[in-house]
Amino acid sequence: MNLTAIKVIYFNEMMRFWKTLFQSIASPVISTALYFVVFGSAIGSRIENIEGVSYGLFIVPGLTMLSVLTQSISNASFGIFFPKFTGTIYELLSAPVSFYETLIGYVGAAATKSLILATIILATANLFVDLNIAHPFWMLGFLVLTCIAFSLFGFIIGLWADNFEKLQIIPLLIITPLVFLGGSFYSISMLPDLWQKVTLFNPVLYLVSGFRWSFFEVSDVSVGISLFMVFLFLAICIAIIAWMFRTGYKLKQ
């Protein structure tokens, strides 16, 4: 295994994060603060507690997931798309590096960035609400797995996209609506029966539900199912990437 290569890819990607540290941190902090002002204080004060949890507190896991999902996808997809776009991918393809080493470098960096971001968001949230995490170990587990799974998904999008529109279309048209409709800001028990059933087809529901359980022991679906769904998503992404690598999809002619 070419560990040196994994290390340089990883640190090169992380360097991009540090170079734009202000945007990287300021943007999630500001948006989280805005959500808390609007949903937590302004609207939230008129909303009853949900399953014994105040609304301001209830939205913390969903808000964190919203940022983690979109940032994991955007970081990982941009990371591999950019060398394709500028042509510097030639160096990766001609280097003694396997596809899996490339993957570990890029996805590892994207997942790390998301993890840092999630920590910042949770710290910001703690300024507005009194955050007590019931199961810190499970919380971290869900968070790490979600960061990795969605960075893998982002990597797939980055490989698939051959222009900037394609790079943006899935996060904008699919992921953001799924996060909003996946119970990030409400419990699905608040929905009519039919919509509760429809929501069960939304994979993000399981992520948010499991993540929320680790905070408040309150969930829309059982934790076991949530965990299973995270692993299933992870397995699907790995299978797709394995196929892409085997066939050289959009990388090699």
């Binding site: 510097t88 160096e91 003694p96």
Partner: protein, 308 residues
């Protein structure tokens, strides 16, 4: 001679159906400079990219120092450095950062002293902390060379290295190429500038339409395919060539003041002194004479014309 790259029946057909390489066989000798000549779209870059691992071959095999480029890709790729045709660099990286990245990517241990010397040799050291977007085109080309040499490769591919490059950089580049040759690095370059191939290459390969038309030592190629032309200025103009010279392929110019005789260098039947004697004896008065040799460019143009 010891071969370092062995290409056997290599073919590449793109998904579009375009056959870029048609059963290419080629042995590249250790330590030589091989120039690949060919018109645009001939298959030069496809050939290089396949050996480097950027393009998957459709059939055939390539080995580098005895290792297969697919089965033992780690070994073969760590021996190869590639300077691509396009100026493909990350705009926001610094020169030092990108060169160190390349060295690490190829699995080589950190060696700042080597990289510093490399940047000095390429007149890049004072720009080492500059971002690449701030560099001129020529400087970017130097950075690409530094990246390719960052892991001390045994084989260096230069794909059109002097396209759009000023005279100074071109001279520097050939100095570096010579230095690398002296260190035993095998160099394969593609170029449109035939005079460059003529100047620095040991052997010349000509590719056209995905086929390797020939690979020969430059000197032998010049001898076997090169033509010479004996041009004689006459003291007094003549209306036609004397009958005693009719059996030779001698041409008279329009003004009747110059005759020329074209012959293939390796053609043993052409005896220049005999022809000169005949010309003198024919009564023509010679004013001056010169011999012109065809360049590699003429040979290349003739070959590609024949092929098409």
């Amino acid at each position: 001679m010891d071969s370092i790259i062995s290409i056997k029946a290599l073919s590449k057909t793109y998904k579009s159906g375009f056959e870029a390489l048609k059963t290419v066989d080629l042995e590249i000798n250790r330590g030589e400079i091989l120039a690949l000549l060919g018109p645009n779209g001939a298959g030069k870059t496809t050939l290089i990219s396949t050996i480097c691992g950027i393009i998957s071959p459709s059939s055939g095999s390539v080995s580098v120092d005895g290792f297969d480029i697919i089965k033992d890709f780690r070994k073969t790729r760590s021996m190869i450095g590639l300077v691509p045709q396009e100026l493909t660099l990350g705009a926001f990286d610094t020169v030092w950062g990108t060169v160190r990245f390349s060295r690490g990517l190829f699995g080589a241990k950190r060696d700042d002293a080597y990289l510093e010397q490399l940047l000095k040799d390429l007149s890049l050291f004072d720009k080492k902390d500059s971002e690449i977007r701030a560099l001129s085109g020529g400087m970017k080309r130097r950075v690409l060379i530094a990246k390719a040499l960052s892991h001390q490769p045994k084989v260096l591919f230069l794909d059109e290295p002097t396209a759009g490059v000023d005279v100074e950089l071109r001279k520097d580049m050939w100095k570096i190429v010579n230095k690398l040759r002296n260190q035993g690095v095998t160099i394969i370059l593609t170029t449109h500038y035939i005079e460059e191939a003529e100047e620095i290459a040991d052997r010349v390969g000509v590719i056209s339409n995905g086929e390797l038309l020939l690979v020969e030592k430059k000197d032998e190629l010049m001898q076997s395919l090169g033509k010479k032309q004996l041009v004689i200025d006459l003291k007094e103009p003549v209306k036609q060539i004397p009958s005693s010279l009719e059996e030779y392929n001698i041409e008279l110019n329009d003004s009747g003041t110059q005759i020329s005789y074209t012959y293939v260098v390796k053609d043993a039947t052409a005896d220049v002194s005999e022809i000169l004697n005949k010309i003198t004896n024919s009564g023509l008065l010679l004013k001056d004479l010169k011999v012109e040799q065809s360049s590699l460019e003429d040979i290349f143009v003739d070959l590609v014309k024949e092929e098409s």
